[in-house]
């Protein structure tokens, strides 16, 4: 799927909170169209890495380039290329599904006609068309997660970052999410998805990058022959 052009380049990336090092000299490249499963035990630095890549946090040392743009110097250009699905849904509970998407569409400068067309498409893809005018506070966890993905892909970002998107989802909701991610990767976008549930790595994920105590402990293609190795490194 990937077209051998780098979309994310990280060099010697470190992050220290106070005196606590969370990420230590990470260097890696992600190629366009890749689906990378970011693995690791709780506290291994997955969320911090995603926050650095999304521009919400600045590295203590090291450099990040996304789509050729350097972070944080050219953050404004990078932001238009990034979609983030975080732990929290990043949705307004007192707005409807459609109003939430409309608000974010405006923030990304999407023109009205295009915005309406995209919102309609995404609500259908998320299975929320009939609930488009319901307040988000009335949604289940799975519905919020689907709407959150719709929000993150509204501006058609090149890179979609997902932080534990399967947590709290039942089997049906998880399968629906699998479908949405497969559609996203089929559109040629790049996905980096963190998870500590190895059984939830979608079949479309082609590469595993495991973190252990802030360092890369494993970085290779996912195949049936190395699953046991991935399990071992991811739970270290």
């Amino acid at each position: 799927m990937n077209d051998a052009r780098p979309i994310i380049e990280a060099e010697n990336l470190s992050k220290v909170y106070g005196s606590l090092p969370v990420l230590r000299s990470l260097s890696f490249t992600v190629w366009r169209g890749e689906f990378v499963a970011l693995l690791g035990a709780n506290g291994s630095g997955k969320t911090t890495l995603l926050r650095l890549l999304s521009g919400l946090s600045k590295p203590t040392t090291g450099a990040i380039r996304i789509g050729g743009w350097e972070m944080p110097r050219e953050a404004m250009a990078v932001r238009a290329q990034i979609g983030l699905v975080a732990h929290q849904p990043l949705l307004y509970e007192n707005l409807t599904a459609r109003e939430n998407l409309d608000f974010y569409g405006k923030l990304y400068g999407i023109e009205r006609d295009e915005r309406e067309r995209r919102i309609k498409e995404l609500l259908i893809a998320a299975g929320l068309r009939k609930r488009r005018d319901s307040l988000v506070r009335s949604f289940s966890r799975g519905m919020k997660q689907r709407l959150s993905i719709a929000r993150a892909t509204l501006h058609q970002p090149d890179v979609l970052l997902l932080d534990e998107p399967y947590s709290g989802l039942d089997q049906a909701a998880a399968e629906r999410l699998d479908g949405m991610l497969a559609a996203t990767i089929a559109e040629g976008r790049t996905i980096i998805m963190s998870t500590h549930q190895l059984e939830r790595i979608p079949p479309t994920a082609g590469r595993a990058l495991a973190l252990s105590r802030g360092r890369i402990s494993f970085d290779d293609a996912i195949g049936s022959r190395n699953m046991s190795e991935i399990y071992r490194f991811a739970s270290a």
């Binding site: 999304s54 521009g55 919400l56 946090s57 600045k58 404004m76 250009a77 932001r79 238009a80 990034i82 983030l84 975080a86 732990h87 929290q88 849904p89 990043l90 949705l91 307004y92 509970e93 007192n94 707005l95 109003e99 608000f103 974010y104 405006k106 923030l107 990304y108 400068g109 307040l135 929000r151």
Partner: protein
């Protein structure tokens, strides 16, 4: 690449107005607090007309500032609780646009409360507060402390003790607003010559502009982790 400033401000403001019309979480709390506060002052200060004239502008502004603390805190907490502040920061928008959008929402909600207080205080204190100059002073004063309140609420909302921290941080900083606005209001209500209260009113406007400029410059740094 960057979304136009005015479009961002309009989007944030209309989102805040829509959410507030639906939930009524900010204005209702601020209005209820103001009502109770004005009633308490009215019963506590059983004053003659002269003394009421002296006290009423202070009661008005102290009540407004305390009510606004509740509103500013809640307004930013709503952004923080569901991670919405992060989602705005992810978008290609200038931080100043986020600030101005939130500021205008806070200003409008507090102004509504202020405008509700005026007829109420007119009845309770027996003084005509429904005066064009008093309303103008209120508009300028509220805009001023909404400008600093929005900045400080963004800072304190990221801490655990945000409810306690915002008043501690904000009250010393809004003293120039309180002094000039109360002095101007008192002069207007007592029928003093315009020269006596136009000075404080002009100073209130000047402080407002200075604080707004400082907040616009500082907001980006406040949003940094």
């Amino acid at each position: 690449m960057k979304t136009p400033f005015v479009k961002c401000v309009a989007a944030i403001l209309s989102k805040d107005l829509r959410a507030e019309i639906r939930a009524r979480e900010l204005v209702s709390v601020m209005a209820l607090f103001s009502l109770l506060s004005v009633l308490v002052f009215s019963f506590a200060l059983e004053l003659d007309r002269g003394a009421r004239e002296e006290a009423v502008s202070g009661v008005l502004w102290v009540t407004l500032i305390f009510a606004s603390l509740l509103g500013f805190n809640r307004s930013m907490a709503q952004e923080r609780e569901q991670g919405n502040l992060d989602s705005m920061l992810l978008a290609p928008v200038s931080r100043a646009a986020i600030y101005v959008g939130k500021l205008l929402g806070n200003f409008i909600f507090t102004l509504i409360v202020g405008l509700v207080m005026l007829p109420l205080m007119t009845v309770l204190y027996g003084l005509d507060l429904l005066d064009g100059w008093v309303i103008l002073t209120m508009v300028v004063g509220i805009f001023g402390f909404a400008s600093i309140g929005t900045l400080l609420a963004t800072m304190t909302v990221q801490t655990r003790a945000r409810e306690a921290l915002l008043p501690i941080a904000m009250l010393p900083i809004v003293l120039p607003f309180l002094l000039t606005a109360a002095r101007a209001t008192k002069g207007i209500l007592s029928g003093a010559p315009a020269a006596e209260w136009q000075g404080p009113l002009g100073m209130l406007g000047a402080i407002c502009v200075i604080y707004l400029a400082l907040c616009l410059l500082l907001y980006e740094y406040v949003l940094e982790e």
